[in-house]
Subunit: 263 residues, 2 copies
DNA sequence: ACTCATTGTTCAATATATAGAATAACATTC
DNA sequence: GAATGTTATTCTATATATTGAACAATGAGT
């Protein structure tokens, strides 16, 4: 018998529930831009106010949360930045991916991303390169997306351990500008499995073409799921003729990256 | 009677010690680039291995820490990035500071930083602008420095609530390439208090001149300590004649920022 | 191949973090 | 200006997270 509240589940399951609560508080404070009071946070997360207060105080002591004594409001603090910087610095994928991403972005005049894949759940943007700064397509580093959506989703579906049919419920819950049919999508997933590249032609965002190629942390020989992916985002109409070239460039860069990460 | 171990103190003082432990683990994993095992982490932080394991599992569940089942090693995960992005997005200082920082960096051909001040303890770089990408002076976003060092340190000392004499022990513990004498430093602090700008001419890093101007979150009228600062970093020899102009530009931008943040 | 020394992990007793009510300090409204 | 709805905060009993020892599981060294 499981609770409807995901946070409550995490708290119950863990032997260190304070950490789950702390993470939830941090995420909430991140989502809301504005500072929040103790009660507001507790109410939102279904926490006991006193417990919430202790969590906040601990987070303030660690400089992950800033406290304004005047307004008695809490907000995210710069400590999170220090952690993020450390992570960015030591993830080989980012260092190795930045070069190829820059090259492809410049060559084709579009935006490229490096993303980390978290199973079938979601992906996070960890590297980015933009050629033309006037057109700010895409997103920022740290953004999250559902795993199975867009071109990256087809890559993930193509190389995940599960049977495609099992992905149906997940597929049905996705949001697209112009959702593809299940049959079309399955065919595109198969194609991605064979070619090592996937294309989303205006489905996820109308008029925008997304190309993605999977990257394996432990060599492309592994039958397991890819750990990362390279993504290119461009105006569909603008890269008609170049699409094949882009696909090959991205796939080639992804293969090369997989080999480098294998060592 | 206080322990010699700062983490232990934090754990004892808090009503949510798991959070202090979790933060310590995250910072340790950040400092070491490479993944670590449970025992290594526990030993390093003076934690009980079993407790450490539970902390790690909770952090893995929150996607703040990545776990490799094969090697049984833990490392920072991308979740920290999501938090950092949220923070950067909603801190007014960064948004407002980026423009002036870009302008000054371009105009004088050097590197500019926006930093957040954490009392007399340390500062964190939260914004940055580089003009010439070939010369990579300076640091990255998220870097920490001791509060009282370099030009920023003089600003902080100038406007902190404490008496200058009380800062002596902190001053003595700083590391400089060419440390100034206590008397010289005090004079420079006084000058910073009067002019609203501070200069470090090759003391912190030989040959490198650093200029800093304090920014107040709640208006420059406050007698309290500044919350942020604008910093410019350049090769000393290269900006000889422009130093006065740079000081005025930085001080002016800092004043303007303080006013904007006051609202 | 067999120690030996590590490692990661489980388990039960106890110190303690948490929940919930009570308190205090505001605002806001009447 | 009293009253009412907030808010943040303290307090204490109890459910429980933490501890330290015991347990596997791995690998190194002889």
């Amino acid at each position: 018998m499981s609770s409807a509240d995901p946070l409550e589940d995490a708290v119950r399951a863990s032997k260190a529930p304070a950490i789950a609560r702390a993470a939830a508080v941090l995420r909430l404070l991140g989502k809301r831009g504005s500072p929040m009071g103790v009660q507001a946070i507790a109410r939102e997360l279904g926490l006991v106010p006193s417990t919430c207060l202790y969590v906040l105080r601990a987070l303030v002591a660690e400089e992950l949360v800033a406290f304004d004594p005047d307004t008695k409001r809490y907000a995210l603090d710069a400590g999170v930045l220090t952690l993020a910087r450390a992570w960015l610095k030591r993830d080989q994928f980012n260092d190795l991916a930045q070069g190829p991403l820059d090259r492809i972005a410049r060559e084709f005049g579009l935006t490229t991303l490096g993303v980390q894949i978290f199973g079938l759940d979601h992906i996070i943007v960890t590297a980015m390169s933009q050629s033309s700064q006037n057109f700010q397509l895409s997103t920022q580093i740290g953004s999250r997306f559902p795993a199975l959506v867009s071109a990256t989703g087809r890559c993930i579906a193509a190389f995940c351990d599960q049977d495609i049919a099992d992905l149906r419920p997940r597929f049905d819950s996705l949001r697209w500008d112009e959702a593809p049919s299940w049959a079309d999508w399955c065919a595109q997933v198969c194609e991605a499995r064979e070619t090592g590249v996937a294309v989303d032609a205006g489905h996820y965002i109308s008029g925008v073409t997304v190309v993605a190629a999977p990257v394996w942390k432990n060599g492309a020989d592994a039958t397991g799921a890819p750990s990362h992916a390279l993504v290119a985002i461009g105006i569909g109409a603008a890269l008609r003729g170049e699409l094949e070239g882009l696909k090959q460039a991205l796939a080639g860069a992804a293969r090369s990256l997989s080999e480098q990460l294998a060592g």
